[in-house]
């Protein structure tokens, strides 16, 4: 699968009600480390069927960012059964993304 763009309109159905764990990437176009992370997330999305990878643009979706208490990006949040299961702030290599989704 590829990375799905999520907004407040589809947040509930794509993230909270997902039957698979969801890796949420909070990012912005002006954020260099977010742009570095993006191709790695694209790879994870393509390689892994057991997780859904979604992207939330914090400039367009400031309320979603606020709901998740995001105050620095890039910020990855793992959501399982509608609940936060793990969080990582800052640029990490792909290996760490893969171990992050296990956690």
């Amino acid at each position: 699968m590829s990375v799905i763009e999520v907004t407040s309109a589809n947040f509930k159905s794509e993230v909270l009600e997902s039957d698979k764990p969801v890796l949420v990437d909070f990012n912005a176009a002006w954020c260099g480390p977010c742009r570095m992370l993006k191709p790695m997330l694209d790879e994870v999305a393509a390689e892994r069927d057991d997780v859904k990878v979604v992207s939330i643009n914090i400039d367009d979706e400031d309320e979603l960012a606020e709901d998740f208490d995001v105050s620095a990006i890039p910020c990855l949040v793992l959501v399982k059964n509608g609940k936060e299961a793990n969080r990582s702030v800052g640029l990490i290599p792909k290996d760490e993304i893969l171990s992050f989704i296990e956690g």
Partner: protein, 301 residues
Amino acid sequence: MFDVIIVGAGPAGMTAAIYARRASKSVLVLEAKSYGGQIINTPDIENYPVEAHISGFDFATKLYEQAKGLGAEFKFEKAVGLRDENGVKTVVTTKNEYEAKTVILATGSENRKLGVEGEDALVGRGISYCATCDGAFFRKKTVAVVGGGNTALEDALYLADLAEKVYLIHRRDTFRGEDATVQKLAARENVEFVYNSTVTALHAEKRLNAIDVTNKDGSVRTIEVKGLFVAVGRIPENQNFASLVELDPAGYAVAGEDCRTKTPGVFVAGDNRTKNVRQLVTAAADGAVAATAAIAAIADF
């Protein structure tokens, strides 16, 4: 065995890779995170010769493509140790060991932390090390900046335009940073200077709510803030190589403009070296000098 192993794919390391590949040496670049180094955090570079404006991301990506295009091999593994056995260098990473005739350490620097309990858990939940990156989350909120150098002053000025109120906390009563910026801050109604003070505790529930600030005279003040921007400098990343490279008290690798260390065949390039100006152009210059010295050392190997 590689001719050259370069540790760190920042501007210094990738420039070294370009020089070594153009001399047809085999090159392995080891990088702990992602290529680019610190510069990927900045949206606009205005002082690199030739390009009047370029984003840090574009700068890093172009440099990476140039080094890769010339045949440098990149592996995303963190180097955790370095050995020298009869001239053969072994770089130990979190996953493997690699041998080389020469090694260039281009590991740059990391943000210095405050060292207050609970800090790590609050990164991204109120604590940040980059005002231009994360300031936007604190529009119309109250924030504090810690530090006394130019970065702290500029961060405070940047945040003063966004935030409701900015406290600038400094452990002395005069700033190391430029006086002109101090004057600009003094003219802002929403900036308050907190002198002779350090942050001694963080109060948080889900996210940061307040900080304790302790004055030199022993008095403690609790200040409600949603954001705390830490600008207390950067620290070099040399600890893993200290057995072969002399470090100064601040942790920088001791080497002159020739980038040579006390161990023949081991060079340092970029921000992790003792020097006065830590910029892209000086990092790139070190990369060229270190690679050229490494190329000469390979000939004698």
